[in-house]
Symmetry: C2
C-alpha cells in the first residue's frame, strides 16, 4: 500500500493506493466522525464491490445507514439524480457529522462529491474510485459537478474528499475500452508534466494493458503525485492547474461534436492531445519527433489519434462554447517539450486550423454528402 498526500492545508487528504485497499478498515476508521454513513454507487459497480466496502466500513465502526444507487453512465450526473441522492440522504437522516462514501467511477465521484458539498451546507465524503480514469484523475482535486442541458459540469463546487481509497484490484473488472480511456489521462500527465513518466509508459505499456497490479499502482501513484502538486499550488484553477487541461480544449470539442456518449472522455482527450501537439509543432514550439512520440503512444494504447470529421469552424465554435468564436480568443495548453506544457492565448488561427486538419478525419463536403 502506498499513500500520496494532497497538501491543501486544512483540507489536506491522503490517497491510499494498492490492491485490496478497499477492504482495509483502517483507511476508513480515522475519517469517521461518529455520524451516519451513506454509500453512493451505481447499478453496475455496487453488485461487485459494495458488500466489501460496507463490510470494511462496519469493521471500522461505521453505521452505514443507506445505500443510494444511481444509473450507470454520464446521464446520472443530472439535476434529477442529484435530487434523488438528497432524498436518500434525508430519508436516512444523515447529519452534518455524516459521511458520504462514493463508490464508482468519475460520474459517481462527481455526483456524490457535489451532493456532499451542498448537503446541509457541506458534509464529508470519501472516494473509492473503481475506474482507472477516476483513480488517476477525477478523484484528485476536489472538482465536483452535475451537467446541465446547456453544458457539462455547469453546476458544481470545489469540495475535497477526506480521503481516497484507490484499489487497483477493482480495475480487473473494468471494460477494456474504459481501461484505455484511463490510460489517456496517464499519457496526459506524462506529456504535460513529466518526461520520465512518458519514458516509463513507452517501455511498460503492455504490462499496463495486461492490468499488471504493480504497473497499475505505479501509474496511479505517479499521476496522483503530479496532479496533487498542481492542485496544491492552485486549488481553484486560476493558474497552473489549467495545464492539466492538455488535450482537453480540443477533447471537449470532440466529445460535444461527436455527440455526448459516442466517445469516452479519455478517447476524446487522446485525439485532443494529438491535435494540441500538432498545434505546438506548427507554432514552432515542439519538435515534430516529440509530437510523433505522443501519437505513437496513443496508438499503441489503442486510443484514437484523429478527431471526428467536422469542419474546423465547428471545432472552434465548440471549443469557445460560442457561435462567434475566433481562434484567437481561445486559450490553448501546448507543449514546449515533453513534460513541459504551457498556456498560450496568442496562437494563430492558421496554425489551429492546420492542427485540426492534420488530426481529424476529413469532413465530407456538401457535394459528397
Amino acid at each position: 500500500m502506498e499513500t500520496v498526500r494532497v497538501e491543501l492545508g486544512r483540507r489536506a487528504y491522503p490517497i491510499h493506493i494498492g490492491a485490496g485497499a478497499l477492504d482495509a478498515e483502517p483507511l476508513y476508521r480515522s475519517h469517521l466522525r461518529g455520524g451516519r454513513v451513506a454509500v453512493v454507487s451505481n447499478t453496475v459497480v455496487a453488485p461487485i464491490y459494495s458488500a466489501r466496502v460496507k463490510a470494511a466500513l462496519g469493521r471500522a465502526g461505521a453505521q452505514v445507514a443507506t445505500e443510494v444507487l444511481v444509473e450507470d453512465g454520464e446521464s446520472a450526473k443530472s439535476w434529477a439524480t442529484l435530487e434523488r441522492v438528497f432524498d436518500g440522504l434525508l430519508a436516512a437522516r444523515i447529519g452534518r457529522d455524516g459521511l458520504i462514501v462514493a463508490l464508482g467511477g468519475g460520474v459517481v465521484g462527481d455526483l456524490a462529491g457535489f451532493a456532499a458539498a451542498v448537503y446541509q451546507r457541506g458534509i464529508d465524503f470519501l472516494q473509492v474510485p473503481t475506474t482507472l480514469l477516476a483513480q488517476v484523475d477525477s478523484s484528485v482535486g476536489g472538482k465536483t459537478a452535475v451537467n446541465h442541458a446547456r453544458g457539462k459540469n455547469m453546476i458544481g463546487a470545489f469540495h475535497q474528499p477526506v480521503a481516497v481509497v484507490a484499489d487497483v484490484g477493482t480495475l480487473a473488472t473494468l471494460p477494456d475500452r474504459e481501461l484505455r480511456a484511463g490510460i489517456a489521462e496517464v499519457i496526459k500527465h506524462g506529456f504535460a508534466l513529466d518526461a520520465e513518466l512518458v519514458s516509463w509508459l513507452e517501455s511498460h505499456l503492455e504490462r499496463l494493458l495486461a492490468r499488471d497490479t504493480e504497473a497499475l499502482s505505479h501509474v496511479v501513484r505517479r499521476s496522483c503525485e503530479l496532479k496533487a502538486q498542481v492542485v496544491a499550488a492552485d486549488e481553484r484553477e486560476s493558474g497552473p492547474r489549467a495545464l492539466l487541461n492538455f488535450g482537453h480544449t480540443f477533447g471537449h470539442a470532440i466529445e460535444a461534436g461527436a455527440g455526448y456518449g459516442a466517445w469516452l472522455h479519455g478517447e476524446a482527450v487522446a485525439a485532443g492531445m494529438v491535435m494540441a501537439a500538432e498545434l505546438s509543432v506548427r507554432a514552432g514550439m515542439l519538435a515534430a519527433d516529440d509530437a510523433a512520440r505522443l501519437k505513437r503512444l496513443v496508438q499503441r494504447a489503442g486510443l484514437p489519434v484523429q478527431g471526428p470529421p467536422l469542419a474546423w469552424e465547428r471545432y472552434l465554435e465548440l471549443m469557445a462554447g460560442d457561435k462567434k468564436a475566433s481562434a484567437g480568443r481561445i486559450r490553448y495548453v501546448v507543449l514546449q517539450g515533453i513534460g513541459q506544457a504551457i498556456l498560450r492565448h496568442d496562437l494563430e488561427e492558421r496554425d489551429v486550423r492546420a492542427a485540426i486538419a492534420a488530426a481529424s478525419a476529413k469532413p465530407q463536403t456538401a457535394a459528397s454528402r
Copy 2:
C-alpha cells in the same frame, strides 16, 4: 453612508449602509470583473427597485445581461426555482467572471447566493437586501440555501458576497409586519451580544417603528457589526456563531409546528427568545427582571410573546428534528445576562417543559377538542 467590514481574509467584504445606497454606482464599480451581470429578484421587489439598481449598475459600467424573477415568499427557495435560475444564467451566458446581484429579502438572497455558490463551481454575488431582516441578519455571514420537503435550508453552501448594499430607504415600502419581524432579529443581537443595543432599543423603539432613517441605519449598522464579529471568528459555525441562534431553537419549532408560512421567521424567533429567556431563568442563570425586559420589548415591537398551542413533547420533537427526541440531547442558547448568551447542552428537561408552558398558548386537551 457608513461601511461595516466583514473580516474574512481573502473573502472579506464591505456592507454599505445608508438611504439611497442602491443608486450609488461606486458601490458596484469595484466589484465588476468584466463579465456579464444577472439580477435575481422577485415579482414584488423588482417592479419597485430593479430599474434603479440596473441603472446604477449601468453607470458603473456593468453589462446587465438578464434579470431572473422568482415568486415572492419562502416557496421560491425550492429546487425547481433554483433550476429556473440556472436556466436563466446559462441562457444569458453568464460566465465565470460574471456577477449575480441579489435584489430582495432573505429568500432572494439565500436562493441567488446559493445559485452563485455552485454556478460553474462558484461565481461572485452582490447582495442588495430590501427587508430589515435581510439587512440586519441574512445578508451577513454567507449562509445560502434552498429548502427540501424534509426541512428548511437542507441544501446550501457557505458563500460570501463580494459586497452588501443595504439601502435603508427601501424599508419605506416594507409591510409593517415584516418590519417588526426584522426588529426581532435586532432584539436578538442585543440580548445575545450587546446590552447597550438593548438599552438603545428600549429608548428608540418608536422611532424605529416610525421608520426613521437614522434609527434604521443605527440598528442595521450595529447588527452588522455584531454579526460580522461573530462570523469572522467562526465562519463555518463550529463554535461562537451558534450564539446567533438565540431564540432560534424554539423559533424553528414554532415555525414548523404552526405550519411554514403561518408565522414569519422573525415572529417565531421573537416568541422563541421569550421561551429561551424563561429557560435561562429556570436554569438559574438569568434574573427574572432581565427576562421581563426582553418580553416587554418584544411586546412593544408588536411581536408575539407566546408560541402556538402545542404539547411540549411536540416542541421537543420539532426542535430535535427527531421523533425520539429527549430534551437532554438538544443544545440551547441561553442567557447569563443581557448581552451574554452561551451555549448549553446539559439543561434539565423539567426546566425546558416549564419554559415552553410559560411562553406558549395552552394546548387543547383531547377532551376539549
